[in-house]
Each structure stands twice: as structure tokens, then as C-alpha cells.
Amino acid sequence: MTTTATPEPGKKINRIGLEMAPYRGGKTTLCAGCGHNAISERIIDAFFEMGVDPRGVIKLSGIGCSSKSPAYFLGSAHGFNTVHGRMPSVGTGAVLANRKLIAIGVSGDGDTGAIGIGQFVHLMRRNVPLIYIIEDNGCYGLTKGQFSPTADIGSTTKGGTPNELQPIDTCSLAIDLGASFVARSFSGDKKQLLSILKAALSHRGTCMIDVLSPCVTFNDHQGSTKSYAYVKEHEEALGEINFVPYFDDISIDYEPGTTTEVKLHDGSRLYLKKVSEDYNPTDKHAALRLLQETDKRGEFATGILYVAPGKQDLVDLLNIVDEPLATLSLSRVRPPKSALDEFMEAHR
């Protein structure tokens, strides 16, 4: 395996001794300038910098432009391009089979908000340990520009047809349903997206990250509220995110009262600069209120919107053994003959 090769001198290696190569994927086949490619780059950076072994990672997706992207990062991890809108169930099955896997799923706004809304809802509700990224451009790219359920009212297609239906806010939905880590970012905001992804890797439970990712071919025009220009102008970042991984034993200076500290599952820490006095990312109601208020103003609040670090995930809820179920030996999974005898006796 390339992942265990000794690095050449002078090459950048990460904390588990790996070069960047095993974190890279195949060559993208998406349009030049597509926001999705920038997201793939950030995923590569985050996994490399956090020193996650790609052999313990699974990449999942549904169908659509976004769902092609797992082929473009972490080439040495197993990947599964599933069916349209149903990646959550496949991811759920996989993490139940092997609780040690780190699962990252990439979906789109159609794959999530339309055909996949049912499975999305239940993934959030179950708090399945999985990073779920929506590459959100408000339209269907692969089928040439139809509206998706995240398109804003009044937003137009390339041909000028306006959307008249209420959009689905995936972040509000995720918070409301029980996801324990919910964030929104912009594919063009390298620093923020990287911090969010690294924090997500330190969290256990469902991490729902909605990344606004303009479609350069079908939805980057005047009239679109998911164009580069519109998003840049209307993004309201929730201040700066400072993420300190558990393996970096450093403290950062911050003025008490202006920053919130959140301790994550693995001991990592998040320092979130407050945008306003009453915002607390561990307060569900505050998060939902913020999303509603910014939406009213036609703005996108970005950053880590909500986090519940201690919430039990599905694997723990089911009280599954520590080893992967997938590799339990026969003696662990086949009860002895006495069990059969008991069953027979009960039916005599």
C-alpha cells in the first residue's frame, strides 16, 4: 500500500507519518471553477492535517454532481456511490457494521432536500456518527439546471423562470431533528470550511454541514441567490472559528465574554468568537432563532451553528460491542446448542 511507504526526505508528512498522496483522489470531472472541487480540497486538507488514516475512512454519496466528488478525494479509502437520495441508509448500515469506521457522506441539495429528504430526516434523528456534507447550489446540475428544494423564492433559473416555492433550510431542519453538530459554510471560504471540517472530525454523532457551493454552469447568474456574487455579499460569518485539535496542547488567548469555548468528543476544543451577546452554539433555540432572523434579511449565517458535544450517537445507543460487528468470530455470533435445545423445548 502506498499509505505505508516511507516518505521521501523533504516531503510534507502528517502526524501519522503519511504524505499528502493517499489523501488525494482521482482527477475531477466536474466543471472548472465548480465550488464542489474547492470542498474536496478542504476535505483532503482536513483529513491530512488531523492525521486520519484513510484506510479507516468510508466515503459515501448519493447521485448528482456533488455525489461524484468522493472519487476526487481520499483515493485510498473505500468509497460507495449509492443511489439517489439514499446514502444515509447505506452510511447507517456501514457504521453499524463497523463502528470504528470514520464515515463521510457527500450529498447535494436535490439529493438531500428532494428525493432524499426522508432518509436525511431519519439520519439526523438517529444521530448516526457520520459527517454529512451538502454541496448546496440550489439546482440540479447533472440534469441541466432544474430547481432544487433549497432554491430561494424569487431566485431564477438560467432561462429566467422564478422559483415560487418555499426553500427547505437544511440547517434548521437538522438542528430541530437532533443532529449534534450543524454548520453552514461557503465553498469559497477556505479557512472557515477547513476549521469546520476539522472540528467535525473531532465530534461523534451526525455532523451536518451545508456548504453553499455555486454552480458555475447553471446557477451563477444575476437572479440566483446561490451565485458567487450573491453569497459573498450576503454571508454573515459567526465570527472567527479557532479549532484546537486534541493533539495540539496549546492554549489560545481570548477575551472572556467575547468567545465561547466548546469541548468536543475527542478532547479537541473550539473557540467561537461571539457575533452577538446572546449567541451560544450549544443553545438549540438560539441557533434556530439566528437562522430565522438571517433568513428574513436574505442573508446566510455561516460557521458552527449548533453543537451538542455530549449527545449519545446511534452506535452507543444500541450498546454495540467495541469491536466491529463485521469481523466478530463465529463463536461470538452463533449461540451454543443449548440455545437450540431451549427453543425446541419451548415449542414442544
Binding site: 473505500h78 468509497g79 440455545a339
Partner: protein
């Protein structure tokens, strides 16, 4: 045993010849009236007396208030399929009583609730009126509990009329109710009240008797879904995702109970995950995800669920992901007859999904096969890296069947071709979809292991698992998938065959139709002097024995519980036109389990058989 005349027997005639250990009892009640305990006690007490017996519940899609019928068949020869005729009616439901009585054959017996006054309806059946409300009031002071113990009175009456040992009934009742002492006491009192009333007020006029035999020794009584659940546990299932649907739910629900009991480590942690999904699409999605990640994964559903699973079934076929799907078949979609049985998903499941797909199906006919095939299914799924469908049905899954005790599995589980370091060294270069062993089965790697990773997709991949839309890659992969399916022919359970030298007629059946076919073959021989060969299919793909069987007989009747001759349709795809030309159909699709008489009648008609003049004498009851 005894032979009787089949001429009408009026109630006014002298008691006819004794009919021993050969009758069907039908209890007509209202859904939710608590009759199940009384029915199971009656069934079990006959079983304890050593007489072969089966119990079938014909129930509505309803919680309470609609008519329901429970049929108990006792047969000294061991025929336990549904009997078309009702010999003994217990009429407890005012709504259906009239029609139930009017459809009886002359000479049958009716035990009824006295106020229904059924005895005025006809004079060629035997009537036994019993004042249930009066009797129950005497033994049960609490008016609220009367409804629950009232039914036990008919067990008491029948114990006297049929000569079922009251001690056996008490034993069965105690087994049924476990530690509920107060309930046992009340029910026992009702049982005895029924028996005492009968001794004092009723005179035996019908010919039916139960006498002890030795034919059930060492056997068990169990439902197919319970047996299947136990088989799944012994197969080492680790992930199960399911969605409630009749008649499937009792399989995962039994599995939950079993896993809770037998599959927790000493520290309380579970060696399994079972999850109630949001729908059948999610169920199969979880199975595909878990199977892909190396678990022994399963789901259980019925026809509507199978339809929803179609897309994932295609993905699993092309991406080559193992998983087990139980299809407990029932009648058609939505409301209508969801609680009635059918073999209606054969064709759609064999070809489930879009594109060119062929799925492996195992078809159990008995509770023992529900148990054994559950284990076969997991092994075949991992061996062939595909979904394996176990095609049970409502009759098998939810009704009570006798069985020999199950065997503890001797062979270890088969995890199939999972790449390891040793194999990798042997084969040199690995490709996910490369046919290294020329049997169509590639080697897979499991996420999280130290073997090479690959990217899993649907149909568009080359043998290395890389994305490809090249025509030659697609054809190459499709041909290998066909080769893999052909290899499966040598591994699926083969048919059970009974050859009859010199016979012209062969019968092919599968699943629960077996029980009717077995009995019909005897009817054909006894009533028409016609001997038949018999082949019972146990799996799809078909094995070479099918062609050999067809070649041996002039006319072959394929017996199925569906309208469109679905299995025959599959044979049409696989067999030569010459063989197909010899196939005929016997079809039964009323929602009730198929019965021997219907099979015999259909073959009689298609063969243009003439009943011998002395037919009556030949009827061996």
C-alpha cells in the same frame, strides 16, 4: 383408519361410521375476542395426543371487530395442508354464522352459541347449541373478564364431543399461559363448565373422534417466522434493518427477543444491531451498507416492501453486495387482502430491479426449511456477493406447523471470497471485479481492513472497479455476472424429487403448495388410479434436475398460488421450447392456502379424467 360412506348423513339418521383422527374444525369468531388461546389449546391438546395437526388463522386486516376463522386440521396420515371442507364448525360470530352454516357439506357438525338459533337453517347437519353467556357467567364473576374466557367453553364442549382428553387440555393451557395463575384458574373453570354441560345436555350425533396415536412424538409446534428468526440468529446475523409489515413483522420481532436473550456479552454489550427503519427503502439501504462493510445483514418484508427495494436490489446486484431479504409473500398491494396468503412475488423478485438482473431465491416449504434456509441464505449471499431472497409466505410464516426438532448447524459459516494477504500474494494483481477463479465470483475487500480499497458503483465499472462507460467493459462484466449466476446453480438447495416409474404425469410445486400436492397425489391415485412424479423446487436459479424431470413425463403440472403462473413464466425463460410445451398450470389465488381437492379437481379437469363408477368406495378418508 376407518372408511365411511360419503353419502349425505342427516342429523335424523343413525350415527354413521366413526371417522377417527380425520377432521377439520373451523372456529368462527370476531377479531380481537381473545379466541386465540382457546384455539391454540385445542390444537396443542390434539398434538399432545399424538395426532398430526395444523392450525391456520384466516384473519382480517383489523385490530378488533371483523370476522376471523381459525381452522384446525387433524389427520392421521399427516396431511396438514388446508382441507377445503369444514367438518366441524364452531359458530361464535353472529355476523357470519348463517353463511358459515349454509356452506357446510351435509353431515357436518355445528357447535353454536344458543341464542343464534342456527338449528333452524337446515336439517342435514348436526347441531349442538351451547348457552355460552350463561355458562361463563357462572364461572367468571367479573363481567369484564368474561369475554376473555368465554371461548374456553367451546374447548370444554369439544373435549367431550370429540373425546379429547381434558387433562391434555389443561396441560396445553398451562403451557400456553405460563405463570398467569389467575388466568389459568379462570380458563380451567370455563373448560370444565363446557365439558360438564356437554355431558349433561348434549348427545353425540356426529361421526368425528380423536383417539391417541404416536405420530407426533418428539415433534414441535412452531410458526415459520419464529423458525426463520432462530435460523437467522444461528447464521450469525449482525445487522438487521426492518420496517413493520404483515405478515413479516413477527420475524424481526422474534429475532429481537432471541438476540436479547442469546447475543449479549457478559458486560451487556450486543453482538448485533437491529434497527426499525423509516421504510423498506431505508431497510434495504442499511442492509446494503452493512453487507458492503462486512456484516451479515438482513431484512424481512412482504410484497409492497419488495417493490420499494427494487432500485437498491439492482445496485446490490451490480455492485455485488451481500445481504439476505425475507419476503413473506401475501396478496397484492395496499388495502384489500394483506392478511391473506399468496405466492405472488416469484417473478418480480427473480428479476427484481431495472437492467438485466437475476436474483437468487430460496423457497422454504416447511418451518424446518425456514430455519435451515435462513442459514443457507447468509452463506450464499456472502459466497455470491449478492442479495438472497427467502420466499416464504403468510401461510407458512404465521400459521402453526408441526416439525421434527431442528438440527444444530454442523458446518461453520461461509464468509465467501474476502481478499486476504495470502490470497493477494497468490494472485498477484487484484481487481475488485476480476474473475480470478473463472467461476464468475470476484474477491472483495472490506472497508477498515488493511487490504486495498476500491470505489463502489453501479453498472459502470471495469474489472479493476474503476469508472468506465466502455462497451467492452460493460459486456465483460455482464457476462461475468451471468457466469456467477450459473455457478450458483451448483450451490443452491436442489429440488426434492419423487419419481414414479411409468407415470405420464409429473407435478412441480414449491413452497407451501407442497402440502396440498402431497395429499392430491394420493387422491389422484386413490380416486383415479393415476400415479404421478413430483418435483419440489427449493431455489432459483433452477438446477439441472428440473430439465431431467420435465424430460421424464408427458405432461407436467406446475402448481402455484398465483394467477399468472409466475414460476412457469420463469421456466419459460430458462427451458427449451420443447420442454415448455409440456408444462401446464394448476393455479390457486383466492387468498386462502391451497388445498389438495382444488389441485386434484384441476388436474382431473385438464386431463379429462373420468371418475371410476365405484368412486365412492374408493374414497379413503
Amino acid at each position: 383408519m376407518s372408511v365411511m360412506s360419503s353419502s349425505p348423513r342427516g342429523a335424523d339418521q343413525a350415527t354413521p361410521a366413526r371417522v377417527v383422527n380425520d377432521l377439520s374444525i373451523q372456529v368462527a369468531t370476531v377479531n380481537g375476542s381473545g379466541s386465540q388461546t382457546a384455539n391454540l389449546v385445542l390444537l396443542r391438546s390434539i398434538f399432545q395426543m399424538g395426532v398430526p395437526v395444523s392450525g391456520k388463522n384466516m384473519f382480517p386486516s383489523n385490530i378488533a371487530g371483523l370476522p376471523t376463522w381459525y381452522t384446525i386440521r387433524a389427520n392421521h396420515k399427516g396431511y396438514v395442508g388446508r382441507k377445503k371442507e369444514v367438518d366441524f364448525l364452531v359458530a361464535m360470530n353472529p355476523e357470519t354464522a348463517r353463511e358459515d352454516v349454509l356452506t357446510l357439506a351435509p353431515g357436518s357438525a355445528v357447535l353454536y352459541d344458543e341464542p343464534l338459533k342456527l338449528n333452524t337453517l337446515r336439517d342435514d347437519v348436526v347441531f349442538y347449541p351451547v348457552p355460552f353467556d350463561k355458562l361463563v357467567a357462572e364461572v367468571c364473576k367479573d363481567a369484564k373478564l368474561r369475554r376473555l374466557v368465554k371461548n374456553m367453553i367451546y374447548d370444554g364442549v369439544l373435549s367431550k364431543l370429540l373425546n379429547v382428553d381434558l387433562g391434555q387440555m389443561e396441560h396445553a393451557l398451562r403451557k400456553q399461559m405460563g405463570k398467569k395463575l389467575k388466568a389459568i384458574e379462570l380458563n380451567l373453570a370455563a373448560l370444565e363448565a363446557g365439558a360438564a354441560y356437554t355431558a349433561e345436555h348434549l348427545t353425540k350425533q356426529d361421526p368425528y373422534w380423536i383417539e391417541p396415536m404416536e405420530k407426533t412424538r418428539g415433534m414441535i409446534l412452531v410458526e415459520g417466522n419464529e423458525a426463520a428468526a432462530f435460523g437467522c440468529m444461528m447464521a450469525g446475523v449482525t445487522v438487521c434493518a426492518w420496517y413493520p409489515i404483515t405478515p413479516s413483522s413477527s420475524l424481526p420481532e422474534t429475532l429481537i427477543q432471541l438476540l436479547k436473550k442469546y447475543r449479549h456479552d457478559s458486560d451487556g454489550k450486543a453482538t448485533y444491531a437491529i434497527i426499525q427503519a423509516e421504510d423498506e427503502i431505508a431497510s434495504i439501504g442499511m442492509v446494503v451498507g452493512a453487507g458492503w462493510a462486512g456484516a451479515r445483514a438482513m431484512t424481512s418484508t412482504s410484497g409492497p416492501g419488495i417493490s420499494l427495494m427494487a432500485e437498491f436490489a439492482g445496485l446490490a446486484y451490480y455492485a455485488e453486495v451481500p445481504g439476505v431479504v425475507f419476503d413473506i409473500q401475501r396478496v397484492g398491494p395496499s388495502t384489500g387482502l394483506p392478511t391473506r396468503t399468496a405466492q405472488g412475488d416469484i417473478l418480480s423478485t427473480a428479476l427484481l430491479s431495472h437492467g438485466d438482473t437475476k436474483q437468487i431465491m430460496l423457497i422454504p416449504a416447511s418451518v424446518e426449511e425456514c430455519y435451515a434456509m435462513a442459514m443457507d441464505a447468509f452463506d450464499l449471499a456472502e459466497r455470491f456477493q449478492c442479495l438472497v431472497f427467502v420466499m416464504s409466505d403468510l401461510d407458512l410464516a404465521m400459521n402453526t406447523w408441526m416439525s421434527q426438532t431442528f438440527q444444530y448447524p454442523e458446518r461453520p459459516i461461509d464468509r465467501g471470497k474476502v481478499l486476504d494477504a495470502e490470497t493477494l500474494a497468490r494472485i498477484g494483481e487484484w481487481g475488485r471485479y476480476k474473475d480470478i477463479d473463472r467461476d464468475g465470483i470476484p474477491y472483495r475487500t472490506i472497508p477498515g481492513s488493511d487490504m486495498p480499497a476500491y470505489f463502489t458503483r453501479g453498472s459502470g465499472h471495469n474489472e479493476k472497479g474503476q469508472y468506465s462507460e466502455r462497451p467492452d467493459d460493460y459486456v465483460n462484466n455482464m457476462d461475468r455476472l451471468r457466469r456467477k449466476f450459473d455457478t450458483a446453480r451448483q450451490h443452491v438447495p436442489g429440488p426434492e424429487i419423487v419419481h414414479e416409474n411409468g407415470a405420464e404425469i409429473g407435478i412441480i410445486g414449491y413452497g407451501t403448495s407442497h402440502w396440498a400436492i402431497e395429499e392430491s397425489r394420493e387422491q389422484l391415485e386413490g380416486e383415479f388410479g393415476i400415479r404421478t412424479g413430483y418435483l419440489r423446487l427449493r431455489a432459483y436459479p433452477f438446477t439441472p434436475e428440473l430439465d431431467e424431470f420435465i424430460d421424464r413425463y408427458q405432461r407436467i403440472y406446475v402448481v402455484e398460488q398465483n394467477r399468472d403462473a409466475q414460476m412457469l413464466g420463469l421456466m419459460r425463460l430458462d427451458c427449451t421450447p420443447g420442454r415448455v410445451a409440456r408444462l401446464r398450470s394448476v393455479l390457486h389465488y383466492s387468498g386462502l392456502p391451497i388445498d389438495a381437492r382444488s389441485v386434484t379437481d384441476s388436474i382431473e379437469e385438464q386431463e379429462g379424467l373420468k371418475r371410476p363408477h365405484h368412486a365412492d368406495a374408493l374414497v379413503a378418508r
